[in-house]
């Protein structure tokens, strides 16, 4: 169908004589990673230098946020790290609560922790299984996708949607967790540990996987701190910085969990740190579930803080009660007074410290909202991680860093 076009491309100076090959590991990757481009100079299989281009999915979140009232920004935050969107939503609600001075009751905190840790498990499952796919082992990915479906079902019970959840309100949740949600949670807690054990057995002491990932993509702790690494990538280098422990939010201080750290910061350590974090998250969910079951009577019905000025009322109240209808109208129309001020709040996302810098000037939309996106910050270190190594190791490094394009470009 297409005619033959003779493209006369002007070759850059000295390109015929140069000894290296230019390879474009372009924006369209095999489906799973996201859109970012690396132009690599290769000497055979060895990478001499690489230059990254991002911005292929820049959607201007920060500019959109200047026009939207607080509740309309939650769907934007969903689409940052879309593998674990409840964490982004909760982080945004926590930021708003810090600005507005809202305290949430304990039961709300524990429910939030369950949802956030489920999201963390879901994120790390994708990352680890994709590292497996990139080394050629497709089976692990298929096994664990089945269990992500169970997590999606739990989200659906609470908020109605699977992936981009838009879950929660300022001060709590939109509805109490139903019995079905807890039944599904129990099913997950019963079935998941054996699957995670099986997944571990496929990879952790697998000789081929170990030889592919040990020693590749390594970074030292000093360089990682200088590059602004946070999250599992930083913990794999040996620094135990976790926002949940350093600046606890949502009652994380009531829970007992350890922070796994690695030592060399290579791909294998990152895999192991994420794997161990999934076990820790499972432990946290079990503790939270037990604590929730201890609430009895009226306390067991609490699912939001008592802040009618900021909490969008439940739909059934809006349709039946006058006061709820009036508050609903006022919040949607932006007739509620917002305090002026600037606040920075961060939560531990799947990839590290996800920060929200919110400046409010009293109007209904933020004056400025900036997202501190961990993927964007640590992708700068990619050239340093892969230069001197082989091309196939660079591919595994790219996936083991867990680069989510939505978070990188925002």
């Amino acid at each position: 169908m297409t005619e033959n076009h003779h493209h006369h491309v002007k070759l850059p100076e000295g390109s015929i004589e140069k000894q290296t090959t230019t390879l474009n590991v372009g924006p369209t990757h095999p489906a799973t990673h996201g859109v970012f481009q690396n132009i690599m100079e290769l000497d055979g299989e060895r990478i001499v230098s690489t230059e990254s281009t991002v911005g292929y999915i820049h959607r201007a979140f920060e500019k959109i946020a200047e026009r939207r009232p607080l509740y309309q920004i939650t769907p934007l935050t969903d689409r940052l790290n879309y593998c674990s969107s409840p964490i982004n939503n909760m982080g945004w609600h926590l930021t708003c609560e810090k600005l507005l001075g809202v305290e949430t009751p304990k039961r709300v905190d524990y429910l939030r922790i369950i949802i956030m840790e489920l999201a963390r498990i879901s994120d790390h499952l994708i990352c680890n299984s994709i590292v497996g796919v990139d080394t050629g082992a497709y089976t692990g990915f298929l096994y664990v996708m089945q269990y992500r479906e169970l997590i999606y079902e739990i989200y659906e019970e609470v908020c109605g949607s699977r992936l981009t959840t838009n879950i929660g309100r300022i001060g709590g949740f939109e509805r109490n967790f139903s019995n079905t949600a807890f039944t599904k949670l129990e099913k997950f807690l019963k079935e998941y540990p054996s699957v995670l054990k099986e997944f571990e057995n496929l990879f952790t002491r697998n000789r081929i996987f170990m030889e592919r990932t040990i020693g590749t993509g390594a970074i030292s702790a000093e360089r990682a701190l200088n590059y602004g690494f946070t999250g599992p990538n930083l913990r794999a280098t040996g620094v135990d910085y976790d926002v949940r422990v350093h600046s606890p939010y949502s009652s994380y201080e009531d829970f007992d969990f350890t922070i796994p750290v690695g030592s060399t910061g290579d791909n294998y350590d990152r895999f192991l740190v994420r794997n161990e974090e999934m076990w820790q998250s499972l432990g946290i969910i079990q503790q939270a579930y037990r604590k929730i079951q201890e609430f009895k009577g009226e306390e067991a019905e609490v699912f939001h803080a008592n802040v009618p000025e900021y909490y969008l009322p439940e739909k059934k109240d809006v349709y039946t009660k006058m006061e709820a209808l009036i508050w609903h109208f006022k919040i949607i129309m932006g007739e509620v007074d917002m305090p002026k001020g600037e606040v920075y709040k961060s939560v531990e996302g799947g990839n590290g410290e996800l920060g929200f810098y919110l400046i409010s000037d009293g109007g209904r939309a933020p004056f400025r909202l900036h997202f501190r996106r961990p993927c964007f910050i640590y992708y700068q270190a990619y050239p340093e991680l892969v230069t001197g190594g082989m091309l196939s190791d660079a591919i595994v490094t790219m996936s083991s860093l867990n680069l989510i394009a939505g978070e990188m470009d925002a």
Binding site: M1, T28, H29, T32, Y56, I64, Q146, A405
Partner: protein, 196 residues
């Protein structure tokens, strides 16, 4: 010595009922040792049950595609066992996720590299029309740069919706006339996009 069989020694008869749908043979005239039918029907039947998709996954819809490809929703039972990443070898371009203006030339390049017959499915609100991102940097719908056959709305669409879109593509593929790609109307469509 061979080990005794331990598993599946009491196989259960499968209760199928209406569980399996059989592809109907196309209308034709059969006789002893021969069967005549329209070539387009036969070719359409073969093509639609073995489409090779190219998942052009950019963002959140890509994760729902991964769920569709997984064992719960299973795209493979529609014939797309082999998803390819090389446009030269694929029939169906599934664009999943937001396409920014920076990405649009890349998308067009990938489309141009596909060989006829090719179909395009826009999965998700962002690919269909720009979605919730009415901004300076997002392409408001991929049909600004390439012709689209099926649009699947949703943000992200459930895997069942993606499968429904896929079945609509299968309908289009099964009923396509052999001469469609040479017709005046198709050429005018391509020219409208600046593609020869």
């Amino acid at each position: 010595m061979s080990r005794p069989v331990r598993f599946n020694i009491h196989p259960i008869e499968a209760q199928l009922g209406n569980a399996i749908s059989v592809a109907e043979a196309p209308d034709g005239y059969a006789g002893e040792g021969f069967f005549t039918a329209r070539l387009s029907d036969v070719v359409g039947l073969a093509r639609k049950n073995s489409l090779w998709p190219l998942p052009f996954a950019t963002s959140c819809c890509g994760i729902e595609f991964m769920a569709t490809m997984g064992s719960h929703y299973d795209l493979a039972r529609f014939g797309s066992e082999r998803v390819g990443f090389s446009p030269r070898q694929c029939d169906l371009l599934m664009v999943m996720g937001t396409i920014a203006k920076k990405m649009a030339p890349v998308l067009r390049q990938v489309y141009l590299q596909m060989a006829e017959p090719r179909w395009v499915m826009a999965v998700g609100a962002c690919a269909s029309s720009g979605g919730i991102f009415d901004t300076y940097s997002v392409l408001q719908g991929i049909d600004q740069v390439i012709p689209v056959d099926v649009y699947v709305p949703g943000c992200p669409p459930r895997p069942e919706a993606i499968l429904d879109g896929f079945m609509k593509i299968q309908e289009l593929v099964g009923q396509e006339s052999i001469r469609r790609r040479n017709s005046e109307q198709y050429k005018a469509l391509m020219n409208g996009y600046g593609i020869e």
